[in-house]
């Protein structure tokens, strides 16, 4: 009786053991499948970067080799120097940085201020105004593009960097306002109330309490703004005419058209243009991801 009983017990153990084993085995298989998928996709997504770097370091003869080589031989670092000789690259870089940094500061600060007003202050018409802000997200820029061009032309700003900079001082962007407001709503209101009691003004509460607490979202929005301006093509294309005012994006297109056969130089230019973006991303990556995660969950 007891023997039977224990045998049955052992049997159930065996079944259990088998189940656990098969489960861990199927887990292992899914793990393997997942890692191999991830690695395959990673390789596919990295190929353009590898190709870019490799092309930028090839001799002109190697660029047009059949079949192409992956590793340049010899490494031609001189291609990068050539970029600075062929076009006023430093000038483009300065223009782009100038516009990007000013737009970033203005965009982030103004968006945050507007977001603060919508998140913390009460006033009649506030909700209606917020709907208006959000609805501008749907408006394609092409609708206002032509009148804006006429407007900036009449004030003599065409072929200057001003049309690319000045609008960002007025209102930031709807998406940024929305994201920052979402983030502010996660910060307890008691904090700014106590600051108010200590005699802080509304503006002071915004700059001294909320801004320092919102670094992740400000960095996230800052990176979006940086990327948007740095890579902007249509704006500079419409407004900038002479080469000394060009940004990197417009300069790249000019370079590509002028040196059709020199893909190595064009790719070196491209590397130099992308490098600051990637550097800033790596520098701020942690806060950037954090900012997206927090707002994405809201």
């Amino acid at each position: 009786m007891t023997e039977n009983h224990s045998e049955a017990k052992i049997n159930t153990y065996k079944v259990h053991f088998k189940l656990i084993k098969s489960e861990s085995r199927s887990k292992l298989i899914t793990k393997i499948i997942m890692y191999s998928l991830l690695i395959c996709f990673s390789i596919v997504y990295m190929i353009p970067f590898i190709w870019l770097l490799s092309s930028s370091l090839k001799t002109n003869a190697d660029i047009f080799l059949m079949p192409p080589k992956w590793i340049p031989n010899p490494f031609v670092w001189k291609n990068y120097l050539e970029v600075f000789i062929q076009v006023p690259f430093l000038r483009f870089l300065f223009n782009t940085s100038f516009v990007t940094i000013l737009v970033l500061v203005a965009n982030v600060f103004v968006s945050a201020m507007v977001a603060y007003a919508f998140s913390r202050l009460r006033a009649p018409g506030k909700n209606l105004l917020f709907i208006l802000v959000m609805s501008t997200m749907m408006l394609p820029g092409q609708v206002t593009m032509i009148p804006l061009f006429i407007m900036f032309k009449t004030v003599g700003w065409v072929n200057t960097l001003l049309p690319l900079i000045i609008p960002s001082f007025f209102g930031g962007s709807a998406l940024f306002i929305f994201l920052i407001r979402q983030y502010f709503s996660t910060i307890p209101k008691s904090l700014d109330e106590s600051a108010k009691i200590d005699g802080c003004s509304y503006f002071g509460t915004f700059t001294k309490i909320l801004l320092p607490l919102s670094k992740p979202i400000l960095i996230t929005v800052g990176i979006f703004s940086f990327m948007g301006t740095w890579n902007d093509f249509m704006g500079p294309l419409i407004y900038l005419q002479s080469m000394e005012n060009f940004t990197l994006a417009i300069g790249l297109n000019l370079f590509k058209t002028q040196y059709t056969q020199n893909w190595n130089y064009t790719m070196a230019y491209n590397v130099l243009m992308i490098a600051p973006l990637i550097a800033i991303f790596f520098f701020a990556q942690k806060s950037f991801i954090q900012g997206i995660v927090i707002t994405g969950n809201k």
């Binding site: 507007v114 092409q142 609708v143 209102g171 297109n253 994405g296």
Partner: protein, 323 residues
């Protein structure tokens, strides 16, 4: 510790005092109102100056004939009527619609798959996440020039890799049948942004849901379709709207890579608009095109919003309204 308690008490007392003052003098509220309008003022000025007035001007221009130089002439609906007889208008609309219909769902799916892979308790998450996100940093002209070189039929990397598998690649952007597919393939390179948003959404799904379903014997596939996807619908919805709006404004690829060709196969809507506005100086016609684009985007967004009641799930406990 003690100090915070004291502070807290002080605060409560003062708040009460303030409230009493507030109800009496209405002082504080006025200050609050004034601050609100002051802080929102830059946006309002910007909205009037750079959005509303230009919109009105653009609307007026769409009923006129003008070339920047002479006098603008009122021509009624002629610009809108001309559109319906313009084969290039139809061509650009078709090209853009095909691009949007194929590229937007593909991007959504690929981004979702990447997010699912990254969300599944793997080592090296941050490395893979960075790898998939990096391409999104390269946008506009930089990406276009890079892919232009990659799509080179003889010396480009894509046909080189295809040749390793014994496939003779097509002419890509130099072939009228392959130019648009080429740009769609290119769009899949920059799924990183959507992927990050999905990933944060996936991480927000309560694990109890999955565990409870597992105990009830739900398979991984059932859990995907009954828990993960329904919980993700608000984010899918957001990415869909953003994707549609973005896809109708494609321009840089057409300008830098294909110049709308070959044989108008990549003649995108905004490229047509740009050419009319800044190459042929048909200001009125270009403005009319812009307004039609605006209505198309509004209509599509409205359809997606309307349909969202049927498929977007707003959980009762997360109550994550968009606005």
């Amino acid at each position: 510790m003690f100090l915070t308690v004291v502070n807290q008490n002080r605060r409560i007392v003062i708040t009460m005092k303030n409230r009493m003052v507030g109800t009496k003098g209405n002082n504080i509220k006025k200050d609050e109102k004034r601050n609100f309008y002051l802080m929102v003022a830059p946006w309002i000025i910007g909205f009037l100056l750079f959005t509303l007035i230009p919109m009105l001007v653009s609307f007026a221009l769409s009923f006129m004939k003008w070339d920047y130089i002479g006098k603008a002439k009122y021509i009624g609906l002629a610009n809108y009527i001309a559109m319906f007889h313009d084969t290039l208008f139809y061509k650009s609309l078709t090209v853009t619609t095909v691009y949007s219909v194929v590229s937007v769902p593909l991007t959504l799916i690929v981004a979702f798959i990447f997010a699912m892979l990254l969300n599944s308790d793997i080592k090296g998450l941050s490395v893979f996440r960075t790898i998939f996100y990096l391409p999104s940093l390269v946008a506009g002209a930089a990406a276009s020039v890079l892919w232009l070189w990659m799509f080179n039929p003889q010396f480009g990397v894509i046909n080189t890799i295809l040749s390793y598998f014994g496939i003779k690649g097509p002419g890509w952007i130099f072939d009228k049948n392959w130019a648009l597919p080429a740009l769609i393939i290119m769009s899949l390179w920059s799924v990183g942004g959507s992927m990050l948003i999905y990933l944060s959404g996936l991480q927000g799904i309560p694990t109890e849901l999955h565990e409870a379903a597992k105990i009830d014997g739900a398979s991984a596939r059932v859990r995907l379709f009954k828990i993960t996807i329904p919980m993700m619908t608000p984010i899918i919805f957001y990415n869909l709207v953003i994707g549609i709006i973005g896809s109708f404004q494609i321009f840089t690829q057409a300008y830098v890579m294909t110049n709308g060709g070959p044989q108008y196969s990549t003649y995108f809507y905004v490229f047509n608009l740009y050419q009319n506005a800044f190459m042929y100086f048909n200001i009125g016609y270009a403005s009319a095109l812009a307004w039609v684009l605006f209505f198309i985007i509004m209509a599509l967004t409205a359809i997606v919003f309307k349909s969202s009641a049927a498929w977007v799930f707003y959980g009762n406990e997360t109550s994550g309204g968009k606005k």
